[in-house]
């Protein structure tokens, strides 16, 4: 089922190249892979991203052939790159990870619970947190991610899961993905000083002076 690429991007076929690029960027922010890392919706987000990439490429391609000399840039790779944290990691539980990625959460948990308490390391906690997150048990998830980070502070994978939860708990999600228009520009002490300096420069150009010492 191939959808009209313009429909995927939500723009008019007569949109300018800039509008096309803006629409692509706006949608790409929505589906960023790393945001969905521990979410059960990660596959759907990836699928949406793929559709978006294909639609964008199709439009750029058709416009290139329609008018030679089109100077459009290929989409930014940063958005479509699949994030992999810290390269290939040596996992102590490859079979459990395989079950999780196959969406067999209950099986994975049974295997995890079968590991004796004295052998539960940082990765065990991380995987437990991952499963809780998938289920929507965010309170447990936070506790497991915290333990994973405490046991192995140097691991990037655990740290990124932990930081995402931390950020969400303090309300950081509201400015993610280009949302949250409410962050008004505040006027800080620096802004006042730099404004005055600018005014001074302008005055000096015109022969006057607003701050006499500089």
């Amino acid at each position: 089922m191939q959808r009209n690429p313009y429909e995927v991007l939500g723009i008019d076929p007569n949109a300018t190249d800039d509008q096309l690029k803006d629409a692509y960027k706006r949608l790409a922010r929505k589906f960023q892979a790393d945001e969905y890392k521990a979410s059960p919706l990660s596959e759907i987000a990836k699928q949406k991203m793929r559709e978006l990439d294909e639609a964008y490429d199709a439009i750029v391609q058709s416009r290139r052939t329609a008018q030679s000399g089109y100077g459009g840039q290929a989409r930014q790779q940063a958005y479509s790159a699949d994030y992999s944290y810290g390269g290939a990691q040596q996992s102590a539980y490859p079979d459990i990870r395989a079950k999780i990625s196959a969406n067999r959460i209950d099986d994975a948990e049974t295997l995890l619970d079968g590991i004796p308490p004295n052998m539960r390391d940082a990765e065990w906690n991380y995987l437990k947190g991952f499963i809780s997150q998938q289920r929507g048990w965010f309170d447990e998830a936070e506790r497991y991610f915290t333990s994973a980070c405490e046991m192995d502070p140097s691991n990037i994978e655990y740290a990124s899961a932990f930081n995402r939860v931390r950020n969400n708990r303090t309300g950081g999600y509201r400015t993610a993905r280009g949302r949250g228009r409410q962050n008004s520009r505040e006027c800080s002490g620096c802004d006042v000083c730099s404004g005055l300096l600018c005014a001074d420069c302008c005055c000096e150009c015109m022969g006057g002076d607003c701050i006499s010492c500089c």
């Binding site: 979410s39 929507g136 048990w137 708990r169 999600y173």
Partner: protein
């Protein structure tokens, strides 16, 4: 547990506000049409948000016409030009939930609250009976949720996740009903799950001090017994609410919305956050003294 999921008006455009109000008035009208004028007092914002979201995902959605409010003739309101499955479902859910809430109030509360609940029980009971005929699947789901919630309370579970699960699962089922595409169904379920969890949690936060006083079940009261510093309790509550709203926002980004995206964005990104702030500020302003 009603009236927490609201738009943040300061950030809402006027044209969106008109639609938002219109959906509220249309649900009121639908309640009247399906369950009689008395049932219109069960109207609330949570269910009008359900109607709005379901309408946003539906294939078509009617426009609004301007009429006068039946209760306040000086006020004009916008009414949907015809009945829709979204509005009907929201009205059915509204009646079913209110009925159980009233029964719950009679069992738990005392004084004026109980008297008011007793007074409205016959009306709610009759409406619920009608809802069972209109939408037996939905009322069965609501019944299952009430029973699961009662189990949680009987066992006095200290886990926040498990305490919130029944209402989360109920909204997951309600939001995803009728969707055939498996991927979209999963997104809708997640959205409903997070929203239901959020509603349960904010209700628990709102009732925290009362429940401690009356020794009622509340997962936060078990976690933070009498004497915990209010700052610590508040930080935990705020974190839990935000974390849940953040996951709802992630699911929202993947919803296939055909219209009203700005309004739903406003509710999910700003409305939930500000409502949580409002509730916590209200409850904790005079609680700087230890509990």
């Amino acid at each position: 547990m009603f009236g927490y999921v609201k738009a943040f008006h300061a950030e809402l455009k006027m044209k969106d506000y008109d639609i938002y109000r219109g959906m509220y008035c249309s649900l009121c009208k639908t309640l009247g049409r399906r369950y009689g004028a008395g049932a219109r007092m069960f109207l609330n914002y949570d269910l009008s948000f359900l109607a709005l979201t379901l309408s946003a995902m539906a294939d078509d959605c009617p426009g609004f016409v301007q009429k006068r409010c039946d209760f306040n003739p000086a006020k004009k309101c916008r009414i949907a030009t015809r009945a829709t499955p979204a509005l009907d479902l929201a009205a059915d859910a509204c009646v079913a939930l209110t009925y159980y809430k009233i029964k719950d109030t009679i069992a738990d509360a005392g004084g004026k609250k109980k008297a008011a609940a007793l007074f409205s029980l016959p009306l709610a009971g009759a409406a619920f009976h009608k809802a069972e005929k209109n939408n037996a699947v939905l009322t069965a789901k609501v019944k299952a949720y009430i029973e699961a919630q009662a189990d949680v309370e009987r066992e006095r579970l200290a886990s926040i996740d498990k305490a919130a699960e029944p209402s989360a699962l109920l909204l997951a089922a309600v939001f995803s009903s009728g969707e055939t595409d498996p991927a979209q169904k999963q997104v809708r379920e997640r959205f409903g799950y997070c929203l239901g969890r959020w509603v349960y949690l904010i209700d628990a936060c709102d009732d925290y001090f009362d429940d401690i006083k009356n020794n009622n079940y509340n997962p936060y009261a078990l976690l933070f017994p009498k004497g915990t510093s209010p700052g610590q309790v508040r930080e935990k509550m705020q974190g839990d609410l935000n974390q849940t709203a953040a996951e709802a926002a992630l699911a929202f980004e993947l919803l296939s919305l055909k219209r009203f995206e700005d309004i739903i964005e406003n509710v999910v990104y700003d409305g939930l956050f500000h409502e949580a702030q409002t509730v916590l500020n209200r409850r904790f302003s005079d609680a700087e003294k230890p509990v």
